[in-house]
Symmetry: C2
C-alpha cells in the first residue's frame, strides 16, 4: 500500500526495487566527466538513422534493452512501460519502444519526466497493478535544438544562461521486491505542482524551473520530517548553474540549507569550460543518464545510500513561448535508499 | 489492491468511484445530437482568448472546475491531476490547470488520453496514493488543425476519411468510495500496446487506430472471461466511420461480434450529413466530452449500467509523418459499472 503523508508525499511499505538500469549517450557526453560510466556511447549523434527523431528513438531502445538484460527480468514479466521525451507528441518514445509489445503509457513532464516515470511506476508496482515496469526518458541535442530553438545549421549564438541538451537516455527496470533484493529501493515520492513566476526567456530554463524545485523539496522535508543532512546526495535534474543557484537561495529563505550535499545532473555531465556548455546540461536525458550511471552505480556499491533525485521541467512549447506566454516549472522528487 | 488478471487487465477490489464529471464544448458541438447534454457550451471558439491554445486551456479549466463543483469534493482533498491534450508539450493542460495547485502529472496517449488519465487515476486511488484525482483531456479544432494539418485560413480540402477534431473537454473527479456511493465505478482497466500496421495517411486516423482497438478489446474479453453481450455499451473514442468498420471486421475474424451494442463517440457527437464532418468527430476532447455527458449521465440514471469505454490514439507528430513514418495506434480500455 502507498500511504499519503503530509501535504503531497507518498510513502511506500513494500518499497519498489530497482532491478536494472542502463544509460546510453552520444559523443559529447562520452567526453564528459561521466563518459566512462555510461553503458553505451556512440561516436556520432546519428546512430545510423536518417532523422534526429529516429536517432533519439535508438537511445531509448538501447537503454531499455540493456536495462532489461541487466535486471534479469523477462520481457513477459514487465507489465508497463512509462516513457516520455521532449519532442512533440513524445514521438521518440513511441518509435523507440513500439516493438516491445508491453502496455505503454506516455508521460509528459518536460525535463522532469524521468522522476515522473519512476513515480508512476512505483505506485503501479506498490498497488499490485504491475509486477515490473520500465521507466525511461531521452533527449537529443539535435532534435531538441531544431524543435525548440533554431535549425542547427543556422549557428545561432547561445546566451550565457542557455544549457546544452544532453544526447542520452536512461532506463530503469523497477519491480516488486519478491526476492528480498538488496538493490536501491524507492522509499518516498513527491509529485510537484505547477509553479509560474513569470519567466518568459526560453534560454533560461534554470530560472523557470528553480521555484518549482524549491516548493517540492521544501514540502518533502516537511512531509517526511527530515532535513537535508540526512541524505548523502540531493540531486536536481537539469537546473544548470543559474537554476542551481536560485534553488539554493530560495531554500535559504525558508531556512533550508542544502549546500553540503547538493548537486545538479546538468553540472555533473559536462566539463563546464572545456566543453562550452554555458550553464550546463539539460533535457530529460540529462537526469536520466546521470541517475542510471553515476548515481545508481554508487548506490549499488553502497558508496551512496540515501539519495533524493528531483527532476525539474519547464512547461512550454515552441508555440507557447513564441506567443509570449510564461514558462511555468514543475519538479517531482524520488527518495531512493539502500 | 489492484490485481492483474490474464495478460494485461487490472481488476480492482475497492472500485474507484466517479464522484463528479463535466463536459464543456464549442459551438459546432452544441449544434450536434448531444448539444443539450454538455454542461457548458460557447457561442464561438475563441472563448475570449487571443490564441487557440489559450482557448483550449479554457475548456479544461471550465470542465475541471464544474466537475469538482458537481462532485462535492474539496480542492484540498484532490491529490493528483492527470491531464493531457493533443498539442505539442500538452501545453493547453499546463496553461489551463496551473492555478489548481494540485500535484500534476501530464499524460500523453494522443486521442486515447481520456482512457489513460482514468486508468492511471484509478490505480493511484486503489493504491492509497490518492484520495481523489482528476482525469481530464481536451482538444480544439482550431489549435489541432493548424498544428497537425493546415492553417485554417488556407481552406484545405478534406478527404472522405478525415475526421473533425472536437472542440471540447471532459473531466472526471475519481475517488475512493469511502461513503458507499452508488455512482458509476471503475471495475477493470486494460492498458494497450502500441500496434503498427504501416498506416502513413494522417487523414485516416481511424485505420491507424482500429488494429490497436481490436487487440485491446480482444485481450479484455479474454482476460475477464466475458463476451460483448454482457455489456450495455461498448464505445470507442474516435475511430470514426472508417475505423469503426475496420474494428468490427478485425474482431469478426477473431469470432467476436460487437455489432449489437457498439458505438463510437466520434459518430455520436455530430450529425454526419448536416454537419459536414466526413468520417466523424475526433480528438481527445471527443471521447472525453461524450463520456462526461451522454454516457455518464445515462449511467447515473441507471439507463446504462455496464459500459466499456475504450479511447484510441494515433501516435504521430507533424514531424514524424512529414518524415514519412508510420502512424502506430494504441487503445486503453476502462470498464465502468454501476
Amino acid at each position: 500500500m502507498a500511504t499519503r503523508i503530509g501535504t503531497q508525499t507518498i510513502k511506500f511499505e513494500k518499497f519498489p526495487v530497482i532491478k536494472g538500469f542502463a544509460s546510453v549517450c552520444g559523443l559529447k557526453e562520452s567526453q564528459g566527466p561521466l563518459g566512462k560510466l555510461f553503458d553505451k556511447t556512440f561516436d556520432d549523434n546519428r546512430f545510423g538513422q536518417e532523422t534526429w527523431e529516429k536517432s533519439e528513438a535508438v537511445l531509448q531502445q538501447e537503454a531499455v534493452s540493456l536495462a532489461i538484460k541487466k535486471s534479469n527480468v523477462k520481457n513477459s514479466e514487465i507489465d508497463f512501460v512509462f516513457a516520455g521525451d521532449l519532442l512533440d507528441q513524445c514521438i521518440s518514445s513511441m518509435m523507440g519502444l513500439k516493438n516491445l509489445k508491453i502496455p505503454f503509457l506516455g508521460q509528459f513532464g518536460a525535463c522532469s519526466t524521468m522522476a515522473q516515470t519512476l513515480l508512476v511506476s512505483s505506485i503501479f508496482i506498490e498497488s499490485g497493478a504491475a509486477r515490473n515496469a520500465i521507466a525511461v526518458t531521452s533527449s537529443h541535442f539535435c532534435s531538441a535544438e531544431r524543435q525548440y530553438r533554431f535549425p542547427l545549421d543556422y549557428g545561432g549564438q547561445r546566451t550565457p544562461n542557455a544549457q546544452w541538451t544532453v544526447t542520452g537516455s536512461g532506463a530503469v527496470v523497477l519491480g516488486e521486491n519478491n526476492k528480498n533484493l538488496k538493490n536501491p529501493k524507492i522509499k518516498h515520492v513527491t509529485a510537484g505542482t505547477i509553479e509560474d513566476l513569470g519567466v518568459t526567456d526560453s534560454s533560461n530554463m534554470g530560472a523557470a524551473m528553480a521555484p518549482a524545485a524549491a516548493v517540492t523539496l521544501k514540502n518533502f522535508f516537511k512531509d517526511t520530517k527530515t532535513s537535508p543532512n540526512e541524505y548523502d546526495l540531493i540531486v536536481s535534474g537539469d537546473l544548470g548553474e543559474t537554476g542551481a543557484l536560485i534553488l539554493q537561495e530560495l531554500l535559504i529563505k525558508e531556512k533550508i540549507d542544502i549546500s553540503k550535499n547538493y548537486n545538479d545532473c546538468g553540472l555533473m555531465i559536462f566539463h563546464k569550460e572545456k566543453q562550452d556548455v554555458h550553464a550546463g546540461g539539460s533535457g530529460c536525458g540529462c537526469s536520466a543518464s546521470v541517475l542510471c550511471s553515476y548515481i545508481l552505480q554508487k548506490m549499488t556499491k553502497k558508496e551512496l545510500n540515501n539519495v533524493l533525485f528531483m527532476a525539474t521541467g519547464a512547461l512550454m512549447s515552441p508555440t507557447s513561448f513564441q506567443q509570449g506566454n510564461n514558462i511555468p516549472g514543475i519538479a517531482h522528487l524520488i527518495h531512493i535508499s539502500n
